[in-house]
């Protein structure tokens, strides 16, 4: 441990701010669990039967379900509540972040100078920030991932870090720890491939590093890198990792042209990243992954499951974000033919990997191990959040 304070724990909310945050967390739980269940009931009992009566068949895809649901009062009300809860998530932490900002910035600067854990931070102000990020505040987070309001700014990193705690704070399976996706993938790989000893790992679109950290914990001998276009997120993530004693190497870079050498990494991963990326860039990045992987290395990304693996209602439900959460590529990404796309980018079909990994923190260890070492990979779907869909391939 270092004597640098942890930026991830420094922001203090007052009584009412804390109360607002707790309200938003439980409001989101109500929306995503209780009211979402009501909406599905109405679909199954009313909307789908009436569609079937009219068309002589069930809706064939998410778009048709969406069309049938669009003017249902439950969809309008549910969407309104979800949309507002999304914005209120960020608003609930902004005032406390503003109050602490000077201190956070100074702490992050100290961490960058001292690097007590042995990590590093490399910023590149000329990085090419994609238009979908500069033009739209993804996740409705005002200022998005990249905006800087002052020198050495970490504000957006802090809003993201504290906001995501509020975001998932009411959901039972997410409550336990940050970095749930990466701790699930890393622990899965360690159990499933005990002889695979990665020396260098890359996490793409790492934001504030919550899902970068677990790789260093599970593979302490590996060099772990994270890239993102957002400088405030990287500064924050680096400062947090250094304070926690985790050596992580952060670099401001666009995943489509990150500049690492050929045959460099043993694992390249990401979590909830590709659905924010346009399809042409997605293909470019897959090719880059193949180039940067060592022979025998593994690319494994966590994402929402592709549309052809889930039913029309679930596609309608998941694609909500594409329409209302400033994530324009979400639906097109999920619509890709994954095996074909990966094959086109260098990952041969017989070396591809698609696996649903249970959430490590909330799954009994025996059950987790059984999934990692056995064939049982389709236990539950993403909807209850207990399982992460991953895809990729070996080089």
């Amino acid at each position: 441990m270092s004597n640098i304070r942890n930026v991830g724990e420094m922001v203090e909310s007052n009584h009412d701010e804390y109360s607002r945050q707790r309200f938003v967390s439980i409001l989101r739980k109500r929306v995503l669990m209780d009211f979402a269940g009501d909406m599905k009931t109405i679909y199954q009992k009313k909307v789908e039967p009436s569609f079937e009566k009219k068309n002589g068949r069930k809706p064939k895809d998410g778009r048709e379900v969406r069309k049938a649901m669009l003017h249902e009062p439950v969809f309008e009300g549910w969407s309104s509540l979800r949309y507002n809860a999304q914005m209120m998530t960020w608003w609930s932490v902004q005032p406390a972040v503003e109050r602490s900002l000077d201190e956070l910035i100074q702490t992050a600067k100290d961490a960058k100078d001292a690097n007590p854990a042995g990590g590093s931070l490399e910023l590149n102000p000329d990085v090419d920030v994609p238009r979908e990020i500069t033009e739209l505040d993804v996740h409705l987070m005002p200022g998005c991932f990249h905006t800087e309001y002052t020198d050495d700014d970490v504000a957006q990193g802090a809003v993201y870090h504290y906001g995501t705690t509020v975001f998932s704070g009411g959901l039972p399976h997410r409550r336990i720890t940050k970095g749930g996706v990466a701790s699930s993938i890393a622990n899965y790989l360690k159990l499933a491939y005990p002889d695979f000893k990665p020396e260098r790992i890359l996490d793409m679109g790492c934001t504030a590093g919550a899902n970068t950290t677990p790789y260093k914990e599970v593979y302490p001998d590996a060099e772990v890198h994270g890239i993102d276009v957002g400088a405030p997120l990287l500064r924050f993530g680096h400062a947090r990792a250094e304070a926690e004693g985790t050596a992580l190497h952060f670099k401001q870079a666009n995943a489509a042209e990150s500049g690492y050498p050929d045959n460099h990494f043993d694992i390249i991963t990401s979590s909830f990243f590709f659905h924010e990326v346009s399809v042409p860039d997605t293909k470019k990045i897959f090719k880059e992954c193949h180039r940067m992987l060592k022979p025998g290395g593994l690319m494994l990304h966590m994402e929402l499951p592709p549309a052809d693996l889930t039913d029309p209602y679930y596609n309608f439900y998941l694609d909500w974000d594409a329409f209302y959460n400033n994530e324009p590529h979400y639906e097109k990404f999920r619509g890709l033919d994954f095996p074909k796309t990966l094959a086109g980018c260098g990952f041969k079909e017989d070396k591809q990997m698609m696996v649903r990994i249970p959430n490590y923190a909330s799954t009994p260890p025996d059950e987790f191990k059984a999934v990692a070492t056995g064939d049982e990979t389709l236990r539950r779907d993403h909807g209850n959040g207990a399982v992460w869909f991953t895809f990729g391939g070996w080089k």
Binding site: H15, S19, N84, L136, D137, Y149, N326
Partner: protein
């Protein structure tokens, strides 16, 4: 209180979504949701005052600001907020309930 050096924006870039034919309904929905939150905050503050009075008999504003519910109390408050949201927005649930009853 120290002067804040930065004011973070509240508006997110991109077109604001609407779900109703009349955007005024969307605006009202946003206002009602915010009001619901503020009432929940007021409940929390009253609960803090009550609990501190029970425990200490005397309280100050600074005590209230610094008050952190323990886990048991936070669980109780969360259940209260959850039930409260269910009540305020019950209209979203009613149609499903009717369909399940029929």
């Amino acid at each position: 209180m120290p002067e804040k050096s930065v004011h973070l924006p509240l508006r997110s870039k991109g077109k604001r979504a609407t779900f109703y034919k009349d955007p005024a309904v969307d605006q009202l929905f946003a206002i009602i949701t915010m009001l619901t939150q503020e009432l929940s905050v007021a409940f929390d503050r009253i609960e803090t005052v009550e609990r501190m009075l029970d425990k200490n008999g005397v309280i100050s504003r600074a005590d209230i600001e610094a008050y952190k519910p323990d886990e048991q109390e936070e669980t109780e408050r969360t259940a209260r907020r959850d039930e409260y949201i269910g009540r305020v927005f019950n209209i979203l649930h009613q149609e499903a309930e009717a369909l399940l009853d029929s």
